[in-house]
């Protein structure tokens, strides 16, 4: 959503969470080209810190990361009693099998894309999930 405060237009802020720097770069380029403001996190812990800082309109989360994986991060975030708990989340997964989907839904994912993700798909889904009007 864009809010117009005075002469400033705040862009839609996205937090990209993925352990691969190349993937983060790829998503960031795609989203920035489409006009989003992008922040990055390389694991669930870092994601949690940044997300709790507030101000994000969308999360893009890879759920196949080691350490505190994407789903755990999402679960924790949804549990937190903050504004950030209700931020829409787009998860990137390697599988669309039904058990994984159920787990992701239980954790609070709002939509999903199956790898490999094309630039158009990523941007199209991000725009819908973040409510951007062309």
């Amino acid at each position: 959503m864009t809010t117009i405060e005075g002469a400033f237009v705040r862009g839609t802020r996205v937090l990209v969470v993925d352990d691969s720097s190349l993937v983060r770069l790829y998503y960031r380029d795609a989203l920035e080209k489409a006009g989003f403001e992008v922040e990055q996190a390389m694991n669930g812990l870092e994601a949690m810190e940044k997300a709790l800082g507030g101000g994000f309109d969308l999360l893009v989360v890879d759920i196949n990361m080691p350490k505190m994986d994407g789903l755990s991060f999402l679960r924790e975030l949804r549990r937190s009693r903050t504004e950030a708990a209700a931020v829409p989340a787009l998860i990137i997964t390697t599988e669309a099998g039904s058990e994984d989907m159920q787990e992701a839904r239980a954790a609070g994912a709002n939509f999903y894309l199956v790898k490999p993700v094309s630039e158009e798909d990523l941007v199209a889904h991000a725009e819908v999930l973040a409510g951007r009007v062309r």
Binding site: A85, Q102, R105, G108, F111, V114, E127, L129
Partner: protein
């Protein structure tokens, strides 16, 4: 019933119809990604709606049906006729449940058992899935589908039988530095079928020529080892996916690229799904909140701001209450609204066009009553403009030249405008004939299977439009005619083969527009009607005295099947059900201003022709005068007018009559018919006759003069005269007089 319940009923009915169309399409043309997807989506959505309205029996049945559809999609189950029949039976069951829900607010008490039995039956046709029939749980990655789509023309012509693979090769950006040349690897693919390259669109100033940002998508034949071997040094950049053999067979054109509206719909549906999955309690408010925001965002993206606001409110309330109910309900409503907006006029083909954002294709649902009210108003406008014309003529003769000229101009303008408004309004009620044709394939399929016959149905002209009232009432006669064709017309395969005909019979339904009439022709290549057999039956049923029968020509004999009492209950086979007689067909068709003709050749087939009006709101009438009074005659049955010199008139039995091209035509006087008294004109010069034909009956009505031919808006007879025979209605002439319009068919009938 609640608004939600009503939405459920109409949405569910449409889904059942779509799934039926798709299943029949699969049976006829083979499996295609688009058709299977349509079936799957239908069951999936029905399941969701049933869950929402707390109808566990239906949820159970839909769940198993969905599994079956998924199995077909993944290639584990083949859609053979028994499988299709079972799924159609499941849809029948659901249709019955929907009816029960509509009248009683719930599924019938037997639903539980029925659901269990149906689940058993469905599971029975679900074959165990083949080994690795499809990758990733039956879901082909989007890039594979896209590549198939783009190259389907080449792929279709492929004759090879090797295994098929889809390969995604996304080299690392730094691969050039590693000495890689991706094109070199791709060249090594021996049996390459299709190649798609995607690149990043980067402004020229920012291009780094040494960063590889290209992505390659390939379709190739196996063996897998050979392919894997080519990419063995870059396994992390390559994905190789098995393709089920039938992925290339049919043209998956219906798999539309994810247009925004499709994503919006899927996203909202996904929130519904997600909220039904239980998670940790303390995460529920967060999940509800996120779901609400996601759905509202999606709706805003689609510029459906009002729906977005509603979902937002529901979501906020649900989050506070930590109860998803209100939000789930709001999502269902939003979904139905989107579907209502994007579902176009009834789909005639199984290739259901995906909802697109095409602004030119937007639809509005309007209550029928409002359209009718508009039509009435418009009709009165026509009457008014007629009276205006009359006024204009008076001014011309009585008033000033200038004034009358000005008047005439205005009158012509109003004339045009009223005509245009009327046309536009009538078009609101226009509906494609496809609605009436839609159930035919299913009927033909079921009936021919039951009777052990092979019948194929061909239709043309589904897009021809007619007034909704006509199309609605067309369905039953059409049904009877087609039933008869399958039951009595088409012979068994053995008989056909012996007669040198192809084993499968054909029924062809063709609709076309001819001026302000619609012609629907139902033709079959079956055994035709045997005049002898008809004669015998007519004798048995004592429809006519034997000597009268003997005089009839073959064509006239065949017409007897339209006589009441021709088919009795014994004739009606169990298949055709209730009393079908062609007399009912003719009556129904005539009630909507149409005519039925039948021609047949013994051994060659039968053709039934329906001649229908495009619209029943206006009628062509002829204004005639007799004994000083004017009447309107509906031109439906008028075939010609004739001026006779008295010497051509002779006495035929009690009536006068004359010969018209080999036929004897009895004459009756309109003045007598209407008991007008007055003086009959004894004009020695000529007599004016209007010739009417109803079926094979022909007669002439004598009038004194014909005053006009015009298109008029008929008001049906009201009050005491409403049931009187022989009156088509009334209309108001330009000078304000009321004209009684006669339906001479009934008088002569």
């Amino acid at each position: 019933m609640s608004a939600l319940g009503e939405q459920f009923v109409s949405e569910a009915r449409e889904l059942v119809a779509q799934a039926t169309d798709a299943l029949l399409g699969i049976e006829r043309d083979g499996v295609s990604a688009g058709l299977v997807d349509q079936v799957l989506r239908a069951f999936h959505t029905l399941k969701g709606s049933a869950g929402l309205l707390d109808l566990p029996a239906m949820v159970l049945a839909m769940h198993v049906a969905e599994d079956l559809a998924t199995s077909i999609q993944g290639g584990g189950t083949s859609p053979t006729p028994p499988v299709i029949t079972q799924m159609l039976a499941c849809l029948d069951l659901v249709a019955g449940w929907i009816d029960a829900f509509e009248s009683g607010g719930d599924l019938p008490p037997s639903a539980g058992n029925e659901a269990r039995e149906m689940s058993e039956a469905l599971r029975g046709v679900l074959a165990p899935s083949g080994p690795a029939a499809a990758p990733q749980g039956g879901v082909l990655p989007g890039w594979a589908v896209q590549t198939i789509q783009m190259h389907h023309a080449t792929l279709r012509s492929r004759a090879g039988v090797g295994e098929l693979f889809a390969i995604a090769y996304e080299p690392r950006a730094s691969c050039f530095y590693d000495g890689d040349d991706p094109l070199q690897l791709l060249r090594r693919i021996p049996a390459l079928l299709a190649l798609r390259v995607e690149g990043a669109n980067i402004p020229p100033a920012e291009i780094d020529p040494f960063a590889c940002l290209l992505r390659f998508y390939v379709l190739a034949e196996g063996p897998r080892d050979a392919l894997a071997g080519i990419f063995r040094l870059v396994p992390d950049q390559v994905q190789i996916v098995d393709l089920p053999a039938d992925a290339l067979h049919a043209v998956p054109e219906e798999v539309a690229p994810a247009g925004a509206h499709t994503i919006v719909r899927r996203l909202i549906n996904e929130q519904r799904e997600m909220l039904q999955v239980s998670g940790p309690d303390n995460a529920l408010p967060g999940r509800i909140g996120a779901a609400g925001r996601s759905a509202a965002n999606a709706l805003r993206h689609a510029r459906l701001d009002q729906l977005a606001d509603e979902v937002n409110e529901a979501g906020a309330a649900a989050q506070v209450d930590a109860d998803a109910g209100a939000l789930v309900a709001a999502l269902a409503v939003a979904l139905s609204s989107i579907d209502a907006q994007t579902s176009s006029a009834p789909v005639a083909t199984a290739g259901n066009p995906d909802a697109t954002e095409d602004a030119a294709n937007r639809w509005i649902r309007v209550p029928e009553a409002r359209v009718d009210a508009l039509i009435n108003l418009s009709g009165e406008l026509i009457v008014l403009k007629n009276s205006f014309a009359h006024l204009a003529r008076r001014i011309e003769s009585e008033g000033s030249q200038d004034l009358s000229r000005a008047m005439r101009r205005e009158q012509e303008a109003i004339d045009r405008l009223a005509g245009e408004v009327h046309d536009a309004v009538l078009r609101l009620r226009m509906v494609p004939l496809a609605q009436a044709f839609r159930p035919m394939p299913r009927l033909v399929r079921d009936l021919s299977q039951q009777l052990g016959k092979k019948v194929q149905l061909v239709t043309r002209g589904e897009t021809v439009e007619s007034d909704k009232a006509v199309v609605d009432r067309l369905f039953e006669p059409l049904l009877h005619i087609v039933r008869n064709a399958v039951d009595h017309g088409i012979e068994t395969p053995q008989v056909r083969k012996a007669a040198g005909k192809p084993e499968a019979g054909t029924i062809a339904i063709a609709a076309s527009r001819a001026g302000d009439r619609i012609i629907i022709q139902i033709e079959d290549d079956g055994r035709g009607i045997d005049p002898e057999a008809v004669r015998r039956t007519a004798e048995q049923r004592r429809l006519m005295a034997p000597d009268a029968l003997a005089v009839l020509s073959d064509e006239e004999t065949i017409e007897l099947i339209f006589a009441a009492g021709f088919s009795t209950a014994a004739e009606i086979t169990d298949i055709s059900g209730r009393g079908v007689g062609m007399d009912v067909v003719r009556k129904t068709v005539e009630q909507i201003g149409g005519r039925v003709f039948l021609t047949s050749r013994k051994g060659g087939g039968t053709t039934v022709r329906l001649d229908m009006p495009v619209s029943i709101a206006t009628a062509r009438i002829m204004v005639v005068e007799s004994a000083g009074q004017r009447f309107g005659i509906s031109m439906d049955s008028v075939s010609e007018t004739v001026r006779l010199t008295p010497n051509r008139v002779s006495q035929v039995k009690q009536n006068e009559g004359f010969v018209l091209r080999d036929r004897v035509v009895p004459i009756c006087s309109l003045a007598e018919l209407m008991s007008l008294g007055g003086q009959t004109k004894t004009d020695a010069e000529s007599r004016l006759l209007i010739v009417l034909e109803v079926g094979t009956k022909i007669a002439a009505v004598e009038v004194d003069a014909i005053r006009a031919r015009t298109e008029a808006v008929l008001k049906p007879m009201q009050g005491l005269l409403a049931g009187a025979r022989g009156y088509a209605g009334t209309t108001i002439l330009g000078d304000g007089t009321v004209l009684l319009v006669l339906d001479l068919k009934e008088i002569l009938g």
